[in-house]
């Protein structure tokens, strides 16, 4: 009998697998601490943006920036930034969870039991994808609740006001949700392709951080040589840069491509890796 690729009971089983080991609580703890730390850093950053220090060398420029930050548009940008605090770093936890979801089964040899119950392996990977995506969404929810509780208090304390339900803020927050889900899928696909837990974690962090740095340095060096402006936007091909472009309402950097371009590239990576993971999982013998 042909069954649909997505089976709710398999998704439910995969969610149960995630939350019935200690690793889940470790992930949650690390994520919450990182989110809180990122929020505090963001608070300090925006405070000094609004109240520049007196001995600042470029005091005039800083005061101009502070005045701009107090305009409605500036306040809305601060609100959006606060509501997505630390996202550049915390999506990494979603990626690591995605890696963990698939590689822990191989490391712990539970994959045999999993494929005995569900021999159609693509169904298992799709269920894991849904479970990892849901976990990524939960991370986003935790961060958003935390940010949502602190942001109004901070803005009031800084004597600026902006609606947290404004178009710009909602858009930033929802694109953040997409980022968490896509990074979880990215990690899952990477784990399914590489299979080794340690190797996948190292590769994931290298692609995330190393890819970001290498893309920026390479294309800037090429720009210095050729002075082709499009090269300044080309780093978007790195996943971390694409994610940053996708979630940043204002241009993430000079000549950055539009947000949709970042979203398309990031979605492409997640889809490609997940597909490769399914192919690899189907081909690989379970020993």
């Amino acid at each position: 009998m042909t069954r649909p690729v997505i089976q709710p009971r398999l998704v439910s089983a995969e969610i149960m697998k995630i939350r019935t080991t200690r690793a889940w609580w470790i992930f949650l703890g690390i994520f919450t601490l990182l989110s809180a730390a990122a929020l505090l850093t963001n608070i300090a950053s925006h405070h000094y943006q609004l109240y520049p220090q007196q001995d600042l060398a470029g005091r005039a420029q800083a005061l101009a920036q502070a005045a701009a930050a107090r305009t409605p548009a500036g306040a809305a940008a601060i609100a959006a930034s606060m509501m997505t605090s630390g996202q550049f770093l915390t999506v990494l936890v979603a990626m690591l969870l995605g890696i963990h979801v698939v590689t822990s089964e191989i490391a712990q040899r539970t994959v045999t039991a999993t494929f005995l119950v569900t021999p159609r392996r693509e169904q298992v990977i799709v269920a894991k994808l849904a479970a990892a995506g849901a976990s990524g969404a939960l991370f986003w929810l935790i961060a958003t609740v935390l940010d949502g509780a602190v942001t109004p208090v901070f803005m009031a304390s800084q004597h600026i006001s902006a609606s947290l339900t404004g178009h710009g803020v909602i858009r930033a927050v929802l694109l953040g949700l997409l980022a968490f889900v896509l990074w979880a899928a990215f990690g899952l696909g990477l784990g399914a392709v590489i299979r080794s837990q340690v190797a996948a974690v190292v590769a994931g962090i290298a692609i995330y951080a190393g890819g970001f740095a290498v893309a920026q340095l390479t294309f800037h060096a090429l720009y210095d040589l050729t002075h082709q402006a499009w090269l300044l936007g080309a780093p978007v091909i790195a996943p971390a840069v694409a994610s940053q472009v996708m979630t940043t309402p204002a241009p993430a950097f000079p000549h950055a491509p539009p947000q949709w371009a970042g979203a398309v590239i990031m979605t492409g990576y997640a889809l490609a890796l997940t597909t490769a993971g399914i192919i690899q999982t189907r081909r690989h013998d379970i020993s």
Binding site: M1, R9, L10, S12, A13, M16, K17, T20, T21, R22, A23, S104, Q108, R109, T110, T112, A113, T114, F115, L116, V117, T118, P119, R120, R283, D285, I286, S287
Partner: protein
Amino acid sequence: MFMHPLAICHRVRVRRQREPGGAPIVSSARAATRFMSAMEPRRTAIPRPLPMVFLPWLCSPSMADARCHGLAASPVSSLPGQAGSSHPTVAYRVARLPVTLVRRHRTRNDADKTTTLRMLLGLAEPTGGAATIGGARYADLDEPALRIGAVLEASGAHEGRTGRDHLRVICRAAGIPLARADAALAAAGLTRAANRTVAGYSLGMRQRLGVAAAMLGDPQVLVLDEPGNGLDPEGIRWMRELLRALAADGRTVLVSSHQLAEIEQLADDLVIIAAGRVAAFGTLASVIGAHPGLEAAFLELTAGKAAIR
């Protein structure tokens, strides 16, 4: 290099032996009976989608009186992709059975018995031919967990997950009521350890957990790889009585093992594989023949074909 017996406990002929102490084994299989009694609610909770034979070549009623219950095997003389290969190959065809397994191993360390079972259960892909159960690949079976239970490793459970959660995850994935997990734990004598992580389980407890997991779906066929590994004498007896009672209950039990003395007490039919080829097959009595026992028969049948690993 490779040799092992595959033993089949058949529902039709459960041998009634006496243990050294003289107590009849089958009639004293209380532990196994308790196991199945405890699992009883499952029978009404989930209708079996296909209440029919799952391995017709092993347990078709029409073949019940056949000498080997439909089990006969012969080496396959020519196989695709074998020419020039120096790698060991599992290659045998079970005559009258819709099963052909062909696989060229990548390394000499690939044990053929476990790989054979893994091919049968869709976990490893033969490089040629097909492994089928009742004419269908395992992967093509509808709800395989409700038809075939398998214990290939001690428990197959995550070290950091509790025994109860391990079973509940399987229940959830297979569409079995979660309450069945507790019944299985009780039947396996693991209720007190249910909320402990598997890391704290002894090997014997892990074997019991593995059997409990395999029986969650109330399958008609049970496949076990070295079920006696790591068990103490009490555990071995528990396992033996359980398997015998399951066979007596009309189920087919396929056991792969090197423990010949245990197999001799347990099996109705045997397939002995050496160096990836069938060395002998048939009923236990026909395989033993004039030899004093299974071990003697095994050593003679496999002499010169490979060294025991």
